[in-house]
Symmetry: D3
Subunit: 243 residues, 6 copies
């Protein structure tokens, strides 16, 4: 089984971390290829970044279609471009956020999302409503530590994550925590040791869900929302974007 893991931002150090985690959690028979697009913002922190990054995600799925992947993971907690990418191919395309939510729902009744900046909240709420999953979400709590700092100063990142997770548990009733950013990858186990609740690494969630969906042999439904894009004239985009 070949899975292409698309980190839609262009932060290559983060792509490297995702690659390591993805390969570590994948099963022996699963081949992981983890990449960043050639174009896009270095991190995805607002609707503007997401719009630019979506084009990159699309381009990578388009490229992947020549390479016979069995499935794709969108490794961004906004699931940037997920619905557009699902239109392009019939093999499963799994978003990191949706996969985390589903996994969390099988481990506890209520989960909280640990996010970065306060401005992420409305995007997270929008995603939860789009997926119809808002009622299981106890809260969205933000560390307000910049993404890059998790890499630069792990002790600071760890402290912020534990403090934020603690509040979600004590004040909001969270039973499971979802790490809402690839920058937080690798902190799940240290948090679990202190907080005593399952902490979901979104890369792990997405890879395991992708493996499961691919193994069922089912393909994306092509009759309605995810029908192939309508054929039409597209101007100002390179040939790979033509339908």
């Amino acid at each position: 089984m070949k899975i292409k893991v698309i980190n839609p931002n262009t932060y290559l150090a983060m792509t490297k971390s995702i690659d390591i985690i993805a390969k570590k959690c994948a099963r022996p028979g699963t081949e992981i290829m983890c990449i960043s697009p050639e174009r896009g913002p270095i991190t995805i922190e607002d609707n503007y970044d997401e719009a630019l990054a979506t084009i990159g995600a699309i381009e990578e799925v388009k490229k992947g279609m020549q390479e016979n992947f069995d499935g794709y993971v969108i490794a961004c907690f906004r699931d940037a471009g997920l619905y557009a990418c699902r239109e392009l191919t019939e093999v499963p395309v799994i978003g990191m956020a949706e996969a985390s939510f589903f996994l969390a729902c099988m481990l506890g009744h209520k989960y909280s999302i640990i996010s970065i900046l306060d401005r992420f909240k409305s995007s997270m709420e929008e995603l939860l409503k789009k997926y119809g999953l808002d009622s299981r979400c106890a809260s969205i709590r933000c560390t307000n530590v910049p993404v890059a700092d998790f890499e630069r100063d792990r002790a600071k990142g760890e402290a912020a994550l534990i403090e934020t997770g603690q509040k979600a548990i004590e004040q909001d009733g969270a039973e499971v925590l979802c790490l809402g950013c690839d920058g937080m990858v690798g902190f799940d186990q240290v948090m679990e040791r202190t907080l005593h609740v399952p902490v979901i690494d979104p890369v792990v969630a997405a890879v395991k869900m992708a493996e499961a969906v691919i193994e069922t042999g089912k393909k994306t439904s092509k009759i309605m929302t995810f029908k192939s894009p309508e054929k039409k004239e597209i101007v100002g985009y390179s040939s790979i974007f033509q339908i």
Copy 2:
């Protein structure tokens, strides 16, 4: 007052029609500039098209920021790129869909959306949930007449719109109809004569709402969802996309 009306697709005949309607409904003191981006799909019919068109909408707001517009209208019934564009500028940016919904809510208790293809339904539902307006929407009904046909064969378009509107009124309880596509622009009055309910032209709705919001003198809130995009490295996009 100067309003830039952005038709995010690249169908110039449609942009021309929008321009005519927008100028006709605008007040004497309102200057309308209606354009299409240089890049993008010729119509917007799926999530893929919307992703590509969003880049064009963003680019046009970016350009507009050098030209001192008092506000923007996104003239696409998916409100493509609306939230990203609101991040870019503090002057009001109004979506054609949201404006139609608000206007409809002031004219009747329940409205229906007359859309094009069945595959649009989930996008419309997503928009209604994002805006928190789903409970006033009686139904989303589709003509399944391709967009281009409304231009080519107006009699056919008119018949399809009236038949679909009739069902929304009789079977779903619609009291107001929202035309859910720029391609349907100009059909509102003929429909009203037959169906005896208000029919909302989305261009008119958006222009009138934009004028109203601009005249209040209020600016987009910049503390949370619509804060300016975070400064960062963006690769593979031209300089206009840099923050």
Copy 3:
């Protein structure tokens, strides 16, 4: 364009303030006539007051029907009598609360209502549910300063409004504030200078929305909820209330 602004309470000093704001924000071509009914409570603070005030609002629309108004504004944040008044006439009737909510939704993703007494909360919630707008409302916060005090001691009123608005922003995630009482009219700009978010004056919102709706030329839908009242015997009310 002639708009009748009905303040459904009988507090004439407040009607005077509303008149000033309404005329100031109206466009040159808009003629504003702002009145209070002859009957009713001096302020509207509970369901009992609202029931009495509704009769006054109705009477004023009935009178207005002889005077060819192009539209009406109900200048009470409970939108007292709005749905009954819409049944009476086909010209637009706009509620101050609904107009504020719609305007707020075009300026930010989440808004809070700044209200007066805690007992108003359930009425506000009822209104939000009736309009299907509850999911965009971050919170309803009350100053617990009596209405009359805003007139008598503006410094106290200002301090209470700023403190309450601050909490809505910091604790509830409000991006826009709606002033939920005519008594708060005129405080929006001072609040904006301190709080750095748009603050909606409900009179301004209602007048601008009324102008916009009237200019579209659309009339209230008369097929269902807002059909004319059924003809019937009505006893114990003066002739103006007969249908």
Copy 4:
């Protein structure tokens, strides 16, 4: 126990029918006084009627406060004036609609409301949302037989009720039917014989709920929504309406 049953319309034949049913279903120790207000519309079929009838209902509770009633029933399926009346007194005030919904919920999982005119639907939906009971309601179906006809031509009324009820059961999944109008009083048993589901007479529901609530000895909560109306100047209303 003394219960005042207020039929807020001025249709005395209907008041007489309500009186008979109420007395028949009341327990031996329950004294029923059933009246219509002196003012108001002869039937309540729209928001306009409801506004006028609410004043009558209020006046009758005000009068009742001198007569030591143990509770009140608002015998109108819009629960006209219910929340205002609850503010006036601490003894229980029960609405015919809410009582029917609660009773229906104890007899089946989903109920439908059998209403009169299509225009009632949005009022019924508003009531269900206000009460937070919409998810148990399978449908609101209307006979479109004028209220007066139920009295004049019982065979026609019966046929319309059975046909409408049948559709609610077969197409909407109703397990219980609520008769949504006092005009339908007395048809429950004939409907049950044909339709084999419980059919709720709203007068019976309200009287039995009132007896139950009164016997608990509990009073209406006076700390928030139903605090006594604020003391204030009220002009243009007779002395009984002063607080």
Copy 5:
């Protein structure tokens, strides 16, 4: 009228207390028989306990069917086995929780549930959603005092209940409090004296609602959710469980 009150746990002291309250609040003509099943957990504090207790509740309804009861009360605030028991008999079966919620809704606009352990919250939320009553519930607050302690140390229990109720009123907007456990029976009046809001004793609520429903003469709807259980082979259960 004969009502069987089933306390589904096996704590006989609690059954005795329930019996006393039920008989005290019942009307002269109502005969109460209050029992515990022969099998089951001594208290019901989790989903596991509830599963075991449900079998006991079923068995007691099955037994009751030979004894011509006019109705049943499930005296457990999880309404353990309510829907299964309703399938077994056509006479009314009333849950203590649903009865409390309905009674609370007639006494105030928002109520809070005073529960025991934090782990009860998700069960309470599940119940509220199942009943479609979540929007009237201001909060679920837990005393975290073990059930048995209410019996052993009434002063401690009283203090915990008053403190928890106070928070529900002040922080959550509760206007009525529902005591969410049979162990709290008998504390309502002392709480009302301090907190000045109605406090619902669930045994009283259930008995009064049962009397009211039974007196209407209506039976449980047998066409859908509560049809009699399908006849089938059942192994490993005694003969009383056979259908």
Copy 6:
């Protein structure tokens, strides 16, 4: 990895079919043990059956705890006993219904449940609300073919499933179909060939989700909803049910 698949009914032919499918879809390293409890109804078609079957499911998890399973599957589309079983063990316990819903959500935007008898609808709705997944469910449609008939007359079963699925697709907008009963196991591929949408076999969904969750190494959250059952006296149950 060792997974115990518990079919909570006592229909051994069905258990055999589940065993075959489960083993066929499991990965090489997964050891499946599929059993029925010793006690319980032969099929689960109502709340009564579910209550009895829950005890059997619990007993089998209790037994499994001595045998070092890595996870459990509850192979009943009501997820009978799921929450109680999760309290008992910290290894993952996966319900067939929840697993189907999550898988369906990754293959299409809206899914329908193909169920058996109309009376199942309210139980399905209850489950969807409990899981907070109702907004993705397009409809619940029932074949009204008895469970046993799917085994006895496969051609009839196939025809009923295809007809019901077709309606869900055409009338309700389903993009994915979930087979809502173990009796329908093995029909997914024949349905897919005719209907051209993914059809989810619930046994496959549950086994693949269980494998995925187990491989993440995460355990059920034990701080709140799924804490171990409280220790207490339990009478009338055999020793295996003691905590």
